[in-house]
């Protein structure tokens, strides 16, 4: 299981993970969409060699079209690869042993370095991704322009090629109806909010990803600072909202949380959506010490292991959505 899921991090009760992604491209090579299979494989070889030669981390190579569909989806559910990489046929990913670093190859760009850490530690995530970048650059020539910085396939990534995102759990702000106001404010300062699995994915289980929109004209450190400032404020607001809920509606809140607990502990059939919703309630219950003897990592594990592909991996066979709902309920009962 990935390090960000099982390890504890700072302010882990609200910030689930801190992630930094750097987009890089190899000079004199068309972007992946315009490569044939042989050329794409050459890029994979180049990046793998560069990582093996210079990086202290040891990686395992996953070639997308050589691994079963379910395994691809599991990597996606663990946030180790992106939906686009999982869909494509030319891609690969180098994933570190602790699963904190993944180097996606031939996604939209030749290289996307990702560092993902538990809790609120964006600076460390940036430092990790930066180290990997330096290591790869020892043997790869990047497309870089003195004025525009790192050149990327999409003009929205040019400059630093950096996307930093904090995944936050905001149940109280959502319950008190303040979430849309906050999301709006965030977008006004050059940041954006996405669903749990990135661009275009839906909001589930009160989980939101706060990430930077602007990649040109700000340094990496400034981007990290912006995300940190916005995230800390949102964390504070969430804490306030939690206190208000506790002070004014304690019994109703406890009722909601214990009902969620009751269903999760006893259900025989449960959809992914319902599970995400109830897990969010239980997570809140744990944070507020209403439910004791629970850990962040246990809830993270359940959250990831009950995603569709991970369930099928657990069952060892392809399952219909109905069958998955039964196994999902079983996994949750066992874990809790």
């Amino acid at each position: 299981m990935s390090g960000w899921i099982t390890q504890q991090g700072p302010q882990n009760e609200i910030v689930l993970s801190s992630r930094v992604r750097l987009a890089r491209n190899i000079a004199n090579t068309p972007f992946p969409a315009y490569l044939n299979i042989d050329e794409a494989n050459k890029v994979i070889d180049q990046v793998e060699m560069a990582a093996k030669k210079n990086d202290k981390e040891s990686y395992k190579l996953y070639t997308i079209d050589k691994i079963p569909y379910v395994d691809r989806q599991v990597l996606l559910e663990k946030h180790l690869i992106s939906p686009d990489l999982a869909k494509g046929s030319k891609g690969a990913a180098l994933i570190s042993e602790n699963e904190l670093i993944s180097i996606m190859i031939n996604e939209e760009d030749h290289i996307r370095i990702q560092a993902i850490l538990p809790g609120f530690q964006m600076k460390n995530a940036w430092a990790m991704a930066n180290d990997v970048d330096d290591a790869l650059e020892q043997s790869l020539d990047y497309t870089y322009d003195e004025k525009l910085g790192y050149l990327t396939c999409c003009p929205t990534n040019v400059g630093t090629g950096m996307r930093a995102s904090a995944m936050v759990h905001l149940p109280a702000l959502n319950m008190s109806g303040n979430i849309s106001k906050i999301l709006q404010t965030v977008t006004q300062i050059g940041l954006t909010i996405r669903g749990m699995y990135g661009e275009g994915t839906e909001f589930q289980g009160n989980l939101f990803q706060i990430s930077n929109q602007i990649t040109l004209g700000l340094s990496e450190e400034e981007i990290v600072e912006n995300i940190n400032a916005a995230t800390s404020q949102i964390v504070e607001k969430e804490k306030e909202a939690r206190n208000i809920l506790l002070n004014n509606n304690r019994i109703q809140l406890e009722d909601k949380i214990w009902r969620a607990w009751g269903i999760l502990k006893n259900a025989r059939v449960i959809t992914s959506q319902e599970a995400m919703k109830l897990l969010s309630d239980v997570r809140l219950g744990m944070d507020l010490n209403i439910i004791e003897n629970l850990t962040v990592s246990l809830l993270n594990e359940i959250m990831i292991e009950t995603q569709p592909a991970s369930i099928q991996k657990y069952a060892g066979e392809e399952l219909s959505p109905d069958a998955r709902d039964i196994i999902r309920a079983e996994i949750i009962r066992k874990k809790l």
């Binding site: 491209n25 000079a27 004199n28 090579t29 068309p30 972007f31 969409a33 315009y34 939209e108 930066n130 970048d133 330096d134 650059e137 020892q138 020539d141 990047y142 497309t143 870089y144 322009d145 003195e146 004025k147 525009l148 910085g149 790192y150 050149l151 990327t152 396939c153 999409c154 003009p155 929205t156 040019v158 400059g159 630093t160 950096m162 050059g190 661009e199 602007i214 990649t215 040109l216 004209g217 700000l218 340094s219 990496e220 981007i223």
Partner: protein, 170 residues
Amino acid sequence: MICNECGKRPATVHITKIENGKKTNMHLCEQCALAKGALSMNTGFSINDLLAGMLNTGTPLPIKVDFMDDPSCPVCGMKYSRFRETGRFGCGSCYKSFGDRLTPLFRRIHGNINHTGKIPQRTGGRLKIMREMESLKAELANAVKREEYEKAAEIRDKIRALEKSSGRDE
């Protein structure tokens, strides 16, 4: 409020458009909004459309795009018109090939046109020194302005050392 377009039905769609820093408001009924494509957010709106939209605003496009208006990247063959449709470049050289045409786009997306972040360690050595030199010179000017001559002398020595080392590199 009545729809700006048909002047009959009540306006239920309110659109604020910001173009070149100028704000315009549109109030439309649902039918007119759909007809104008203003509601395309609900019908497969994508980042490509958005980027294409950003490139298309400003000067109106001539109806016929002749060869001269549609340059292509000599390295990968990507046409500018194709980039405008997809919002994706074909290779790193496209940036140079399409040149100044892209500047308004960067400004709209990022509000900026100059990279100030990381410089590649191995290949960016000269650039790194140039940047450092620039910031030292600015510091020096500041120190002189504040009459901090001791500090200014320190900075001057740093600049000299940097000049020496970069001279060796070249």
